[in-house]
C-alpha cells in the first residue's frame, strides 16, 4: 500500500535533501533577480546564484520583510511577466497596503501538490469526502485547500466559512469524513450541533480535521478531538509562502513536517537575527524554492516556533517544527513583562470549567496598566453556587499570574457570550493610553 504521496522526495536522505535545496536556491536567486526589488538589492550587495555553494550560505542573503512587500506593491517582486501569471492572493489590506502574491501555472501546480502531499500524510485518501470550511476568495485557505483536495482525488465540498446550520447539513447529506476549519470556529460549530440536538460523534462520519491559520495550544486540539470524536492535524502556512501546505502534521501528530524540498526554513533570534540552536524558540524565516512568479527569499514570518530535534516514526526526513507559539507582533508588554496571548490560552484550556473563548483587554487606570481576562464558562459548569464561581475565578487568576507574572482581573462570562469572528479570532484589545 502506498505510504507516501511522493516517496522519494519525502524520504530523501538529509544530505541529498540539502543538496537539492542548494541547487533550487541557486535557481530561485536567478529567478528572483528578474524582479526589480531583488535585482537592485543583490546587485548592490554583489550577490548572485554563485554566492551559494552549500545551503548554509543562505545566511549571506538579506532578509525580506512585510514592509519590503508593501514598499514594492504591487509588482516590484514579480519575477515573470505579468502575462504569465494566472492568479493572485492578497491580504485584505484594510489596515494599510495589502500584501499581494502572484502565481503562474507552475506555482499553482506545485502548491496543489504540496497540499495533496500534506493531506495524504494525515491519512486522507481519494475515498474521503472533504469539506473545506474556510473562506474562499483572496484568503488562501479556500482555494489553496480546494486544489489540493482535488489533486489528491478526494471529493471536495467547497462549503466556505460560516453558515453553521448548512455546514452540518452538508456533513450529514454527503457523509463528510474530513474537514478543514480554524480552531476557534470549531468550538462554535460544536455548540450549533448541540443546539440542533446532534452529536458529531454519532451523527456524522467525520474522522479527520485539519486545523490551522491561528495559533492554538495542544489542549485546544485535544478538546476539538474529544468534541468531534476525530483526529485533528495542525497545519501551518502563510500567503507569502503560498498558503496552506507549508508544514503539516502527519498521522503521528509529533510535529509539523516542513516541506524542505519546496522551502528553506530557518529559525532566528528576532533581536540578533542569528540562528537559534535546534529546540529553541525563535522567529521562522522562510524561502520559496519552487516558485517562479514571485520567489521570496528569507522572509521574516513573525511566527514563533522551534525545530523539534526528533525524528518522526513516519520515516519522512523533512524536519519538524513545533506548533506556532505566537507571533512576535502579538506580544504585548505589561508592567515590564513580555506576554504572549498563547500563554494565557494555555492556562485557560487546562481548566475543565472553562469554555472555548476568552478575551484579553488592556487598559490604563490611574496611570496603571491593567489586564482583564474575560473567560467563557463551559456549558454545564455553573452549578448555582456562588462560592464555587469565586473559587474558579480565583484559580484562573492565580494560574494566569503564575504564567505571566502579572495579576489579571478575571471576569467569568456566560457560555458563548463573547463576540465570535468567522475569520481569525481577535482576542487582545489594547485600549491603553500611550504616554
Amino acid at each position: 500500500m502506498k505510504r507516501y504521496w511522493e516517496e522519494e522526495l519525502e524520504t530523501l536522505p538529509r544530505k541529498k535533501l540539502e543538496e537539492l535545496q542548494a541547487e533550487r536556491l541557486k535557481k530561485t536567486i536567478a529567478q528572483a533577480m528578474q524582479s526589480e526589488h531583488y535585482k537592485k538589492l543583490y546587485a548592490e550587495k554583489g550577490l548572485s546564484p554563485d554566492s551559494i555553494k552549500h545551503i548554509e550560505d543562505i545566511r549571506k542573503l538579506p532578509f525580506t520583510t512585510k514592509q519590503d512587500l508593501r514598499d514594492n506593491f504591487p509588482y516590484g517582486l514579480l519575477s515573470t511577466p505579468k502575462k504569465d501569471c494566472v492568479r493572485l492572493h492578497s491580504s485584505s489590506g484594510t489596515t494599510g497596503t495589502p500584501t499581494v502574491i502572484f502565481h503562474n501555472q507552475h506555482d499553482l501546480n506545485s502548491w496543489a501538490n504540496l497540499v495533496a502531499r500534506s493531506l495524504f500524510s494525515t491519512g486522507i485518501r481519494d475515498t474521503d469526502v472533504f469539506q473545506n470550511m474556510s473562506g474562499y476568495g483572496l484568503f488562501t485557505g479556500g482555494l489553496g485547500f480546494q486544489y489540493g483536495i482535488e489533486r489528491l482525488g478526494a471529493l471536495s465540498i467547497p462549503a466556505a466559512a460560516g453558515n453553521s446550520i448548512r455546514q452540518i447539513k452538508l456533513m450529514r447529506d454527503y457523509g463528510t469524513t474530513a474537514a478543514h476549519a480554524i480552531p476557534s470556529y470549531l468550538g462554535y460549530l460544536y455548540e450549533v450541533f448541540e443546539s440542533e440536538g446532534l452529536d458529531p460523534k454519532k451523527d456524522t462520519l467525520l474522522k479527520r480535521m485539519i486545523i490551522g491559520a491561528e495559533p492554538h495550544t495542544d489542549d485546544t486540539r485535544k478538546r476539538i478531538e474529544e468534541l468531534f470524536g476525530i483526529k485533528a492535524f495542525n497545519s501551518y502556512g502563510l500567503s507569502e509562502m503560498n498558503g496552506p501546505g507549508v508544514a503539516f502534521e502527519c498521522e503521528h501528530q509529533t510535529g509539523l513536517h516542513m516541506w524542505e524540498d519546496a522551502f528553506v526554513a530557518e529559525i532566528v533570534n528576532p533581536q540578533t537575527l542569528e540562528p537559534v540552536p535546534d529546540g529553541e524558540i525563535g522567529e521562522l524565516v522562510m524561502t520559496t524554492l519552487d516558485r517562479q512568479s514571485m520567489p521570496i527569499i528569507r522572509y521574516r514570518t513573525r511566527d514563533l516556533t522551534r525545530f523539534l530535534p526528533v525524528e518522526c516514526p513516519c520515516g519522512r526526513t523533512h524536519r519538524m517544527i513545533d506548533r506556532i507559539a505566537g507571533r512576535s507582533d502579538d506580544m504585548f508588554i505589561i508592567k515590564g513583562c513580555n506576554v504572549f496571548p498563547m500563554q494565557i490560552e494555555g492556562v485557560l484550556m487546562k481548566i475543565p470549567e472553562v469554555g472555548n473563548d476568552y478575551r484579553i483587554t488592556l487598559e490604563t487606570e490611574n496611570n496603571n496598566d491593567t489586564i482583564t481576562v474575560e473567560v467563557e464558562m463551559r456549558k454545564g459548569a455553573f452549578k448555582g453556587d456562588l462560592e464555587e464561581l469565586n473559587r474558579l475565578a480565583r484559580r484562573i487568576t492565580h494560574d494566569i499570574r503564575d504564567e505571566i507574572l502579572v495579576k489579571p482581573e478575571v471576569k467569568l462570562v456566560e457560555n458563548n457570550s463573547l463576540p465570535k469572528s468567522e475569520g481569525k479570532a481577535v482576542r487582545v484589545f489594547d485600549n491603553r493610553i500611550i504616554h
Partner: protein
C-alpha cells in the same frame, strides 16, 4: 421537593432585564427573587416561579446558564417578630443559611421564608422534626 431556579448573571446594565423580558415573552411569573453578588463582575439570580423546570429550560435554551436548586420554604407569621422567631429556631438547630428571601402569602397572615443551605435534605428533615411548618409546593409556586 421544592426548587428555585438559579441563574448565572453578569453584572452589567440591562442583563437582569434580558431575563425579565424573556419571562414576559414566555409568560413566566416571578413569585419571589433575590440577587446575590460577591464582586463587581457577576452574581446569581435566584427565582421562585410556578414551573421551575420549564423556566430553567427556557433560560438555558436562551443562553443563560441555570440550574434547579432544592430549597426549603418555611412558614412564618406575617407580623413583627415573625422572622425573628423562625431564625431563633433555625439557630437552635444549628442551621446556617446560605441565602434566604421571603414572600407574603395572599391570606394576609402568613409569609414564607425561602432557605437555601448546604445539605438541604438533612436540614429539611431536622426542620420538620423540630415542628416547623413547611409550606406546600402549591403555595410556594402559586398553583392551586
Amino acid at each position: 421537593m421544592i426548587y428555585q431556579v438559579s441563574t448565572f448573571l453578569e453584572n452589567k446594565p440591562g442583563y437582569l432585564r434580558r431575563i425579565t423580558t424573556l419571562f414576559k415573552r414566555e409568560n413566566i411569573n416571578i413569585r419571589a427573587m433575590t440577587l446575590s453578588a460577591t464582586n463587581t463582575s457577576w452574581g446569581i439570580l435566584s427565582l421562585i416561579v410556578p414551573d421551575p423546570e420549564k423556566a430553567c429550560k427556557t433560560l438555558n435554551d436562551n443562553g443563560h446558564s441555570s440550574v434547579l436548586r432544592q430549597i426549603a420554604a418555611l412558614e412564618i407569621e406575617d407580623k413583627p417578630g415573625g422572622l425573628d422567631a423562625m431564625l431563633e429556631k433555625l439557630e437552635s438547630l444549628g442551621i446556617n443559611i446560605e441565602n434566604a428571601y421571603a414572600r407574603v402569602v395572599n391570606d394576609g397572615e402568613t409569609a414564607f421564608l425561602v432557605v437555601d443551605t448546604h445539605d438541604i435534605d438533612n436540614a429539611a428533615q431536622r426542620i420538620q422534626e423540630a415542628g416547623i411548618t413547611m409550606v406546600s409546593k402549591e403555595i410556594v409556586y402559586g398553583i392551586k
